[in-house]
């Protein structure tokens, strides 16, 4: 476990895609039971940082620790890492050939060897948490974007992760569908789930986050409580907040 007890720790993380330096020394601590919101302009490296935490991208240098496990270690136990981490994507990424409950049951059965009946009970449990019990036997294409995203959250919850990552989960949704997804996330936060979310929803971040991380030029430019949104220390964050109004 990391000395400061944080669930997710990034230390001087660098990552380039070809000549394009996306992460230029990111430092970040996401505490247990807290909500960390990563904000910033497009291209500031927010999503890449999140993808590095889940090892969808390998870092060039620096350290990433998730629940005491070194993610930057080439020999990291990926399965164990993915059992600790849940991730929800902007584009939902439900499996189109499976019903809603099958989408949710797949991973507990395949990765945790859960028996079918138990997995189904679990699926109905998490579906109830996101308010979609009646959709268990529907297919993803029959659901609205907001409903699909809630299923994606439920699918992740069914694996009982220690940390949840959210990658701009409302960005693909029409404004009127965002509320239902944000409400689910807010309830999770209230339940003490450790979360790291990349978001453009400033009002939501203000309301729910314990920590705000403003990313700029591939760095965690300014970090702090939601107070930094009211009194930013750096001109970059100040400009970012102003442009959002």
């Amino acid at each position: 476990m990391d000395s400061n007890g944080a669930a997710v720790v990034l230390r001087d993380v660098h990552k380039s895609f070809g000549a394009n330096k996306v992460l230029a020394g990111v430092n970040l601590d996401a505490q247990r039971g807290q909500v960390t919101a990563i904000i910033g302009r497009s291209g500031s490296g927010k999503s890449t940082a999140l993808r590095c935490i889940d090892r969808l991208e390998k870092v060039d240098s620096g350290q990433i620790t998730v629940c005491g496990r070194r993610v930057d270690d080439p020999a990291v136990d990926l399965k164990a890492l993915r059992l600790d981490l849940g991730i929800v994507f902007q584009s939902y990424n439900l499996f189109p050939h499976l019903t809603i409950e099958e989408n949710i049951m797949l991973a507990p059965r395949a990765a945790k060897r859960m028996v079918k009946a138990q997995a189904r009970t679990l699926a109905h449990e998490v579906l109830a948490r996101v308010g979609l019990s009646e959709k268990a036997v529907a297919y993803p294409e029959q659901l609205s974007g907001g409903q699909q995203q809630r299923v994606a959250i439920a699918r992740s919850l069914a694996m009982q992760p220690k940390v949840m990552l959210f990658d701009e989960v409302t960005s693909a949704l029409d404004p009127e569908l965002r509320g239902e997804v944000l409400k689910v996330i807010e309830e999770l936060a209230a339940g003490g789930m450790t979360m790291v979310m990349v978001t453009h929803e400033m009002a939501f971040a203000r309301r729910v986050a314990d920590q705000i991380v403003f990313m700029h030029a591939g760095r965690a430019w300014e970090c702090g409580t939601t107070d930094i949104l009211n009194s930013p220390q750096t001109p970059e964050l100040k400009r970012f907040i102003q442009s959002d109004l």
Binding site: L56, L85, F89, N93, A107, A110
Partner: protein, 232 residues
């Protein structure tokens, strides 16, 4: 000298038709198994495996089926393998169909969005599980129209087996014509029979393509085009 057409001739043609269907099935099952293996090897993380299967596909796609048939039927016995016309035809078609289906299916597997792989990966599924439970079921839906379409090509290509003395539909027509000498009539009948075998497959393929619910339309269209191109 020449006898007129009678019931036994039609029976003969019927037998030939059955063998055409049989050989098509052998080619489809054999070629399908080989094709799946090829498709999986083509996207394997192992570079030698990718290279090996890619070379195989290139080699077969650049070789006429007729030559493959000659090689197996006349060439293999020279190396000490005794081989019947049926084995030669079945083997040649399997090798031929495997290369094409492998290439069509590789394209279908790769057209499943990368995000699906990632979602499955992040749910702690192993590579095998991701392939089996998430990617392949979606690839099958994408692949079905072009695969059924390709079955038309298989049926027609079985006629080449006549050159190694395998008595399928085309060969039985030749033999029959030698006795009754009514080439126009006989080959017209044969054409009708081939058409009757192929047309339902074409229609089926078209219907499946229109229904293709999960594949993005552009991906399916591109694949279909690729399949058509590789056949002409």
């Amino acid at each position: 000298m020449t006898s007129s057409l009678n019931a036994s001739h039609f029976l003969y043609l019927w037998h030939g038709t059955l063998w055409t269907i049989g050989l098509s099935l052998i080619a489809f099952v054999g070629g399908g198994l080989l094709g799946l293996t090829v498709a999986l090897c083509r996207i394997s993380p192992s570079r030698p495996l990718r290279w090996l299967t890619s070379s195989y596909v290139q080699l077969i796609q650049g070789t006429p089926l007729l030559v493959i048939l000659f090689m197996t039927f006349f060439g293999l016995p020279q190396l000490g393998f005794k081989i019947s016309p049926l084995t030669a035809a079945g083997l040649s078609l399997t090798i031929y169909v495997g290369a094409y289906l492998g290439e069509i299916w590789r394209g279908c597997i790769e057209s499943v969005p990368k995000a699906q792989w990632e979602a499955a990966e992040c749910l702690a599924l192993t590579r095998g599980q991701r392939m089996r439970m998430v990617v392949l079921p979606q690839a099958v839906r994408i692949a079905t129209p072009s695969t059924v379409g390709f079955m038309v090509q298989i049926v027609k290509n079985t006629s080449l087996a006549s050159v190694v003395g395998f008595v399928e539909l085309a060969r039985s027509a030749q033999i029959m014509n030698n006795s009754v000498f009514e080439p126009f009539l006989i080959y017209a009948m044969v054409a009708v029979i081939y058409f009757a075998l192929c047309y339902p497959l074409s229609r089926w393929s078209l219907r499946l393509e229109r229904r293709g619910a999960f594949a993005s339309p552009s991906a399916t269209a591109a694949l279909h085009q690729q399949a058509q191109l590789s056949l002409t």
